[in-house]
C-alpha cells in the first residue's frame, strides 16, 4: 500500500493524521456547509448582516416548509424523477442489448460500431443542441418529459454501451459457448445467462446514469420550459428568481435539489464507485 500505512508510523504522525482528517474535510466541504447553515437561518440574519454566525433562531423547518409547501419545488422534484427513472431504464436496457451484441459476437463492423458509440459519447453536446431542439419540436415533444427522456436515452446509450460492452467482454466466454452447446437460443442466452450476470454492472450503471441525468441542466434548459416538465436543476433557477436574495430559501432549495443524488450515492456507494471505475468516463 502506498503511501506507507499510517499505523506503521510514529505515534505523533498518527495523531497528526487523525486530527488533520476532520480539518481537511471541513475545508473541503466549507462551501456546502455554508449553504447548509444558510438554510436554517431566519431571514432576519441576512438583513442584520449575520451571515456566518450561528443562526439567531433555528428556522430549518420553516425554510424547508416554505420550499416544500409554498413553492413549485415538489413539482420540479417529481418531474426530475419522472425524467430520470425512465431514462435510466431506457438507457440501461438499450445498452445491455448493444453491449451484448458488441461484446459477444464477432463480425466485421463490430469495432467500428463500438467506436461510433464511444465517439458519440464524447461529442461536445452543444453541437447537437440546435438540431435536437428542432427535431424535438418537429416531433411535438418540445417541453415534454418524453422529449427529454428520449434524447437522454439516446445520448447516454453511447456511454452505457462502452460500459456494458467492456463488462460483457470480461465475462468468461465459455459460459456462452456452454449454453450454445446446450442448445439455448441467442435471445435466451442474453436473457437467462448474460443478463443475470450483469446485475452488478446494471446496478452500477443505473446509479451513475441516475446522477448524470438528475444533474443535467443544459438539456433541461434547451428542451423544456416551465413547471410542467422542467427538472429540478432548471427549476431551481426559477425558484431562485422567485426568491431572489432570500438566501435562506435559496439555500434550502439548493439542498433539496441536491439531496436525491446524494442520497443515491450514499445508499448505493459500492455500485456507484464500481460504476465510475468500470466505465470511468462521463
Amino acid at each position: 500500500m502506498f503511501p506507507k500505512p499510517i499505523e506503521k508510523q510514529s505515534q505523533a504522525a498518527q495523531v497528526a493524521y487523525k486530527s488533520m482528517l476532520p480539518v481537511a474535510l471541513l475545508f473541503w466541504l466549507a462551501p456546502l456547509l455554508a449553504v447548509a447553515l444558510f438554510s436554517v437561518k431566519p431571514d432576519a440574519d441576512f438583513t442584520s448582516g449575520n451571515y456566518w454566525g450561528l443562526p439567531s433562531s433555528f428556522e430549518g423547518p420553516a425554510n424547508y416548509g416554505q420550499v416544500f409547501f409554498n413553492s413549485d419545488m415538489p413539482r420540479y422534484l417529481l418531474n426530475s424523477f419522472m425524467i430520470t427513472v425512465p431514462t435510466v431504464i431506457g438507457a440501461v436496457a438499450l445498452s445491455a442489448m448493444t453491449g451484448f451484441a458488441l461484446g459477444i459476437y464477432k463480425f466485421r463492423a463490430n469495432l467500428w460500431i463500438f467506436f461510433m458509440f464511444v465517439a458519440g459519447n464524447f461529442v461536445p453536446f452543444q453541437i447537437l443542441m440546435v438540431p435536437v431542439r428542432d427535431l424535438t419540436l418537429e416531433l411535438g415533444l418540445y417541453n415534454t418529459k418524453t422529449g427529454l427522456v428520449l434524447f437522454h436515452v439516446a445520448f447516454q446509450t453511447g456511454f452505457c454501451t462502452l460500459f456494458m460492452r467492456n463488462f460483457i467482454r470480461a465475462l468468461p466466454f465459455e459460459l456462452i459457448e456452454a449454453a450454445r452447446v446446450e442448445g439455448v437460443s441467442e435471445w435466451r442466452i442474453f436473457w437467462y445467462v448474460v443478463l443475470p450476470l450483469m446485475k452488478p454492472a446494471l446496478a452500477a450503471l443505473s446509479v451513475l446514469i441516475f446522477t448524470f441525468i438528475w444533474n443535467d441542466y443544459f438539456w433541461a434548459v434547451v428542451l423544456t420550459q416551465g413547471i410542467e416538465s422542467q427538472p429540478v436543476t432548471a427549476g431551481i433557477t426559477s425558484f431562485n428568481a422567485q426568491f431572489r436574495a432570500a438566501y435562506h430559501l435559496m439555500s434550502a432549495g439548493s439542498i433539496v435539489a441536491a439531496l436525491p443524488p446524494v442520497a443515491m450515492f450514499f445508499l448505493m456507494q459500492k455500485h456507484f464507485i464500481a460504476g465510475l471505475t468500470l466505465g470511468a468516463v462521463k
Binding site: 419540436l137 418540445y142 417541453n143 433557477t237 428568481a241 431572489r244
Partner: protein, 394 residues
C-alpha cells in the same frame, strides 16, 4: 358561454405581479365556469428565451410579451394572431388608443397592452432630509447632491447589472437627456455611429457620476433584486428603476415616508424631456387553439374595471392602459402618470432592449456594463460597438 381549455403563459414571476395575475385569471374563470384555465408562470428571464419555442411548438392561447420592436420577429414570422378585429370594437378602440401605436405593425394590431409603467429615480427621502438635499431637476443639482451623498459614506445609486438591462435604463436616460429622443431612436435603429461625438458626450456625462463614486461597487455581480438591499439598508440613496421596484422596496420595510420619486433631471436644457415607459402586452399566438376564449380574455384584461384593479398600488403598482380606468391614488402612480402625460414632451421610449434589435441590445448593454466598471476604456468599448453595428444592421 366559453368552453374548452384556455392556457395562459405568464412571465410575471415576481411574487407580487404573480399573485395579481393569478387573481385576475381567477376572476375571469369565475365568469366562465365551463372554461378550464391553465396558467403557467415562467421565470421572467427564462421566458425571454423560451417564447420562440413555445410559440412554434406548443403554443398557449394567451402569452405575455412586450410591445414595439420586441414583438416584431414574431409578427414577421407569423406567430402572433392579428387582433385588429378587437381594436375595431368601439369600446376598445377608444379605451386602448394610447397604446395602439406600440402594438401596430403593418397597420395591424398584434396584441393588447395590459400595463405600462414609468421609470424614474426612487430615492430615500429620509436620507435626503438628513443631508439636507432636495429633488434635483438639473444635472448640476444632481451632481451636487451626489457629491454630498458620497461624502456621507453612501453611494448615490444602487444598481445591479448582472443581467445587463439595468445599465440599458441608465443609458436611455443619459442619452435621451443629452441628445434627445429622436437621436436616441436613430441610434437604436443603427443610423448613427457609436463613435459620434454626441454619443461620446452622453458617456462623458455618465462618467462624471461614475467617477465621483456615484454607483455602488461590484454592481456587475448583482441582479436588480440583489441591489435592492443597498437602498433598504441606506447604503445607497436612490435607484433608477421602473415602478415595479416599489413593491419589493415596500415589502422590505421602507415606508412611504422613507421612499419617494423624482423625474430624471435635465442635462441638456435644449432637448425636450422624454421617458422610458415599457408596455407589457398580451398576445394570442397564431397556433393557439382556443382563440375565441383568448380574445374574450384580452377584452377582460383590458376592461376598465380590471385595469383599475390589477394596476393599483397593492397589485402591479403600475399604470392602467384603459383610458376609462382610474389610476390608483398611490403616490408613485399618481406622480408617474402625471409625469408621462404632462412632462414627457420629447416622446416615450419602450426601453433600450425593446427599441434596439436584440443582438445590438446585447452587445451594447455589455458595453454599458463594462463602461460602468471601467469608464477609462470608453474608446475601446465604443469602437467595439461600432464594429458590431456594422455587422448587425444589414
Amino acid at each position: 358561454e366559453l368552453t374548452g381549455d384556455l392556457t395562459i403563459f405568464l412571465d410575471t414571476s415576481n411574487p407580487a405581479p404573480r399573485a395579481t395575475m393569478e387573481a385576475m385569471i381567477a376572476r375571469f374563470g369565475e365568469k366562465h365556469p365551463d372554461l378550464a384555465i391553465e396558467t403557467t408562470v415562467i421565470d421572467r428571464e427564462a421566458y425571454k428565451t423560451q417564447i420562440r419555442n413555445f410559440l412554434t411548438a406548443n403554443a398557449p392561447d394567451v402569452a405575455t410579451w412586450y410591445a414595439a420592436n420586441r414583438m416584431r420577429p414574431y409578427v414577421e414570422a407569423g406567430l402572433f394572431e392579428d387582433v385588429s378585429d378587437l381594436y375595431a370594437e368601439p369600446e376598445i378602440a377608444e379605451a386602448l388608443g394610447s397604446t395602439k401605436g406600440a402594438l401596430t405593425i403593418d397597420d395591424k394590431q398584434w396584441g393588447v397592452a395590459y400595463t405600462y409603467y414609468q421609470w424614474g429615480v426612487y430615492y430615500r427621502k429620509d436620507i435626503f432630509a438628513e443631508l439636507g438635499l432636495s429633488e434635483p431637476t438639473t444635472w448640476e443639482e444632481e451632481k451636487a447632491n451626489c457629491t454630498k451623498i458620497v461624502a456621507s459614506g453612501r453611494a448615490c445609486y444602487t444598481i445591479g447589472t448582472k443581467y445587463l438591462w439595468t445599465a440599458g435604463g441608465w443609458f436611455d436616460y443619459m442619452n435621451m437627456r443629452t441628445n434627445g429622443f429622436d437621436f436616441h431612436m436613430d441610434l437604436a435603429a443603427g443610423n448613427v455611429s457609436w463613435e459620434d461625438d454626441r454619443v461620446k458626450q452622453t458617456f462623458m456625462n455618465w462618467k462624471e457620476l461614475i467617477d465621483m463614486g456615484g454607483f455602488i461597487a461590484d454592481h456587475q455581480t448583482y441582479s436588480w433584486q440583489e441591489a435592492l438591499p443597498f437602498m433598504v439598508k441606506g447604503e445607497a440613496a436612490a435607484y433608477l428603476m421602473g415602478n415595479f421596484a416599489v413593491a419589493p422596496l415596500r415589502e422590505a420595510g421602507l415606508t412611504d415616508d422613507q421612499l419617494d420619486f423624482y423625474q430624471f433631471p435635465t442635462i441638456n436644457p435644449d432637448v425636450a424631456l422624454s421617458e422610458d415607459a415599457p408596455t407589457d402586452t398580451f398576445h394570442i399566438p397564431a397556433n393557439a387553439k382556443n382563440k375565441e376564449a383568448a380574445r374574450e380574455f384580452l377584452r377582460f384584461a383590458t376592461s376598465a374595471e380590471e385595469q383599475t384593479i390589477i394596476n393599483n398600488g397593492k397589485n402591479l403598482g403600475q399604470l392602467p392602459v384603459n383610458a376609462a380606468s382610474s389610476v390608483d391614488d398611490d403616490k408613485f402612480l399618481q406622480q408617474g402618470f402625471k409625469m408621462l402625460s404632462t412632462n414627457s414632451t420629447g416622446g416615450v421610449a419602450q426601453f433600450w432592449d425593446r427599441d434596439a434589435p436584440a443582438e445590438m441590445a446585447k452587445v451594447s448593454m455589455e458595453g454599458f456594463q463594462e463602461f460602468m466598471v471601467k469608464p477609462g476604456e470608453l474608446d475601446k468599448i465604443l469602437a467595439k460597438l461600432e464594429r458590431a453595428r456594422g455587422r448587425i444592421y444589414k
